[in-house]
Each structure stands twice: as structure tokens, then as C-alpha cells.
Symmetry: C2
């Protein structure tokens, strides 16, 4: 390894000596790693999952799709502290971005779903979110000839099941990674990809300890940590975090560390959405998690760094959904319910 590095350095020197204008490009060794583009194993399944992601017929009202709360026009989030659910119910917790969610150690703030496939079934059947049931959602899809044909193409069978629905949704969501952030380019050796201020912000972010939790490819998403480590986090929000899953008292107020990729787009912040701006979020995190009050200049520098984490947003044509048949239920969002 060391020998290779030496050779590489020599090679770079040779290039420089040759007067070439190319910037010396050596990957940096940092606690954060660049993200790579998604590898699509099954394009047909991804296309199917994309349609389902945008399909309001998975909800009881016929008005709410996955994209309603995980809006791919706005960083995979709805930019609301609490999401709007069925019949305008207030969402239980800030909707996390679906971007790069495939890199999370588990899904939901409390990690109660082990992967994207398991997660995808949650909101469909959550009475405060899409408010349908798995049985109703699947039986609706089964009446739509275009879906029947597409499930057959993808799964080799016309039978639609919630397992196949969530598998397709997960396959689509796995493609929602955001490579080529300016910071990634810097990590890969492009010195000019970020400004001096942004670099200063990163060094401060790293050396003051933010990277203890926000590290790796997703810059978070890979551990559960206590919200309010050194000082308690004050909130009227009732979420208790991971204790709801593990039932262990030590997990009270432990939440999955959110990814910081595209954090410029995913305001407001924290599980209760209480921090409206990055400046507020950085200030609160510094005080509560690190016992440090960042100066205005430091805060500004870190925020500048955080804005270098916006990567290429998923680019695809808005899907066109197969029309309902006469047998497909016509939802009434305003019907009285039993």
C-alpha cells in the first residue's frame, strides 16, 4: 500500500513537472466517504416501484402518495415539521428524507424497520398517514390492468402481494442516492471543489466531534444516539425514540442519527422539526451533544460546509400511472367512516 502511494506521488509529480494543467487528484482519508451512484440491478422493478411511489391509490383517501411526504422535488422530504396525514392528521414525527435512506442502519427514527422494504409497508397502513390496509392497497392494485401486467413482467406472476409492492418500492428507493456533492469531489481530491470557508467549516465539524455520529458514506444514518447527550433536549414532542422498539430504558431518547447529505434541502430539522434553519440546528447540536457554543463565525462556517453536501438529485421522468378500471374503488376522502 505504502509503495503504491509512493508510486502514485511520483506519478503526480511527473504530471506536474510535465506542466499539465490537471489538478493533482488524490483521494482524501477522512471520516466521511464519497457516495457512489446507484447500481440498478432490475430496471423494470425500479420503474414499477417508481410508479407505486407516486400512486395515491395506495392511500385510503386516494390523495396521499409516498411522494407526498418524501417529495423528490424537495430533497425527499416535505419540509414540514410534522407531515400532513390522512384527513389532515398531524404526523407523529418529522418525515426523514428518502434520499440515501438505503444507507441507513435501519428505517424510521427509532429504527423499527430493518430495511426499506419493511419500512415501505408502514405508512400505507398507518391510520395517521396513508390510512389504508395492506389488503385494501393490494386489492386496489389488482384491479388495475396496467399494474397486473407490470407485476407479471417483473415478478413472473400476476398476483400482486404486499411483499411484491414493498419490494418494488424498496428497489426504487435504493436508486435514490445523491452522488457528486461538491464535498465528495473535494474528498476525491479536487481542492477547488469547496471554498476556504467551507473547508474551514468541515475541519471544525470534524475536529469538534460532530463526526463522532455524522460519519461514513451517509454522514450519519449508521447509529442510534441520544438526543440531548450533555444537556437534555427540551421539546413538547412525545416521541421516545428507540426505547419503543427495544423496551430498554437505556434507549430512551435514542434516535437514529440522520444523514446530513442534502441537509440544505431537508429543513426543518430534528425528529420534532423544531430547528427551522441549519444555523439553529448546528447551534443546538453543538450545545447539547458537544457542550460547545459555536461562535457566529464558526456556525456560519459549519453551515457553509453542510451546504456542500447537496448531491445530484435523482433525475427521472415523472411517471405516468396506469389508469384505474371500472372495478377499481373510487375513494372518497370525505366519506363518513364507521
Amino acid at each position: 500500500m505504502r509503495k503504491q502511494t509512493r508510486i502514485s506521488v511520483l506519478a503526480v509529480a511527473a504530471v506536474l513537472i510535465a506542466g499539465c494543467a490537471t489538478v493533482a487528484s488524490t483521494a482524501r482519508q477522512e471520516p466521511i466517504q464519497p457516495i457512489e451512484p446507484a447500481k440498478v440491478a432490475n430496471p423494470a422493478m425500479v420503474e414499477l416501484g417508481k410508479k407505486l411511489f407516486f400512486d395515491t391509490r395506495l392511500s385510503r383517501s386516494g390523495g396521499i402518495s409516498c411522494n407526498f411526504c418524501h417529495n423528490l422535488s424537495t430533497g425527499g422530504s416535505d419540509n414540514l415539521a410534522a407531515s400532513i396525514g390522512d384527513r389532515w392528521q398531524k404526523g407523529g414525527i418529522n418525515s426523514p428524507t428518502v434520499l440515501n435512506a438505503t444507507l441507513n442502519i435501519a428505517q424510521f427514527w427509532d429504527g423499527r424497520a430493518k430495511d426499506l422494504k419493511e419500512q415501505a409497508g408502514g405508512p400505507i397502513a398507518n391510520p395517521a398517514e396513508m390510512a389504508s390496509t395492506h389488503v385494501a392497497a393490494v386489492s386496489t392494485l389488482q384491479t388495475i390492468p396496467g399494474y397486473v401486467a407490470e407485476f407479471k413482467q417483473v415478478f413472473g406472476a400476476e398476483q400482486i402481494t404486499i411483499d411484491r409492492v414493498t419490494q418494488a418500492l424498496a428497489a426504487f428507493e435504493e436508486t435514490l442516492v445523491t452522488p457528486n456533492a461538491r464535498f465528495d469531489k473535494w474528498l476525491k481530491g479536487d481542492d477547488n471543489a469547496i471554498t476556504e470557508q467551507e473547508q474551514r467549516g468541515y475541519i471544525l465539524f470534524r475536529d469538534s466531534g460532530c463526526v463522532a455520529c455524522h460519519n461514513g458514506v451517509a454522514i450519519g444514518g449508521n447509529s442510534f444516539q441520544k438526543m440531548g447527550l450533555l444537556q437534555p433536549y427540551k421539546t413538547a414532542h412525545t416521541a421516545q425514540g428507540r426505547i419503543d422498539v427495544t423496551k430498554k430504558d437505556q434507549d430512551r431518547f435514542m434516535f437514529k442519527v440522520p444523514t446530513l447529505r442534502n441537509v440544505e434541502l431537508t429543513y426543518p430539522y430534528f425528529h420534532d422539526g423544531a430547528a427551522s434553519t441549519l444555523a439553529q440546528a448546528v447551534d443546538t447540536m453543538g450545545k447539547l451533544q458537544l457542550g460547545r457554543t459555536f461562535t457566529t463565525q464558526e456556525n456560519t462556517d459549519i453551515v457553509a460546509f453542510l451546504k456542500t453536501l447537496t448531491g445530484d438529485q435523482p433525475s427521472f421522468a415523472l411517471p405516468h400511472l396506469p389508469p384505474s378500471s371500472d372495478k377499481t374503488p373510487r375513494p372518497d376522502p370525505f366519506a363518513k367512516r364507521k
Copy 2:
């Protein structure tokens, strides 16, 4: 003109004589004309309008965009009898499709807006729909640097006004036409573009008088007509139609004739959304407007014809919206209101 036609016929004959495999392609003279692709005069304005169309920040709650009710994944409609408005209010009337709306004689069911630009301002400020105000919407946009730059690029000025917002929205909506329906291909001379049944359905549609109202390029959209011409239309819905605009008693229950393009996608039907299926809609229209009860076979044939009117759906990449700045209001859909 006649001379040109003769020359054209001769040219076709010459091609046929030459043994060319091309199908003789002579445009048919019918009361319905093919739709042509949109000509985009100002691509930058269209791009801006597209972003605004998908932007929930034009609503008071931060949850509702134009696309929420005029969903371009589902025929430019929400497939609900009544749309979901701010705080889950029930929409006053079935959301008409935005597809080909540029061809309408006027906008809204009662024609109260003279064009798309005037229409676009309506839902933004309608308390039961997006529930914002023009002042609030514009002042929100003005805090978003990406929009300020884009308005400057398009309009030559950083000042955002509701006039410019609606002009951009209209420019985008003007592109939402749907050429290349199978019926258009048949109209243009491709005999095999529609089946015998579909052709039978069209002839019946034409000769029984549906074309009296559903004619032209949009197959509707170009006149106001009485809903319940020969028999009264029974509905609990309170909309009175064009009388609300003209204040003339003769305009009671006069509604704009909806376009039939993409009608397979835009269920449910009528201003009250009471007809769930095309079969129901055809049956009701036959009885009420023509005094004719179509047989099951006739109804099926007409429905088959109507499904040939689905054209190319607008194809474009899902837009990515410029992020809010720290100065942009953070809407709270659940806040108590004064």
C-alpha cells in the same frame, strides 16, 4: 385549395403505383381534428412555470401544489370527485384536467377565468384550496434565492409579482398538450390506428349527436352547454354553472363542455364527479343531452372509442425546486388560525 388537394391525391396515387409499402395517408374530414405538439416559445419560462406548478410553498399549509389536484401522473387530474383542499376541505367542484386546458374557451367549469394565466391565480388564493394569498405567495418566493435568480433570467428583473408567477405557470400549462392519440392517427389517415369496434363507436358518437358539443381539436372545451338539456340532471351538488359569472338566468346550469381527450384517465366525470366510469357517463349523457338510451353494445363501442383519445402524456423530468432560505416562512399546516 381544391387544386392542391387534387395534386396531393395524384401524388398519393403515384406513390401507390410505385409499389411503395406506405399506407395511403389522407387526412379525414371530421368534426374532430388532431392535436398538434406544443410549440415552446420560451423554454426558460416553461421551466420556471414547471417548478412553480410543483411547489407546495404556494399554499398556506406548505402541503398543496398545483400538481396535487392536477396530477400529471394521472391525466392532469386527481381522480377524486371532489379535491382535497387546505385542511382537508372538500373542493367545490371536480378538478378539471390541466391537459390541453390551453385549448379551452375559458377556464374553470363556469368559465370565470378568461385564460390559463388568470386561472392560475385562483386556487392559490382560494381559502378552500391552497388558501394562501397572492401577497403571501409572492413574498415567500421572493425569499428563495433560486427563484429570484430564475425570475431575473426569465423576466429580466428580480422582482417577483403574481403577474409573473401566473404567466410562468400558464407558459408551462400551455405545453401540456397530448398529441398522437390513436384517434388522431386515424384522423390523419392511418386506417389501422383504431379497431373496428372503436371506429363503430366513433361513428355512433358522431352520428348520434355527441359531436354537437364535443368537437374541435379538444373534443370539447369550446362552448358552454346546459347540463341536463332534455332531462334535468339530478344532483345534490350546489354548483349553478355559468350564471355565477354572467348573472343571467339563461346560464343556470350551463357548464363548459369538458375536453374528452385523455378521458380514460380523468375519472370520475361531470362537474360533481358523480359518474365513476365512462360507461355511466356515456349512459347519462345519452339520456339527458340526446334523449337516447344507448344499448349495452352501443355504450361499449362508444367507451372503446373514447379510450382512443388518450394521447402522449407530457414527458419531463420531475423538477427539483430551489431550497428555501432562512428567511422563507416555515409553514405549519396545523397551526391555529385567527
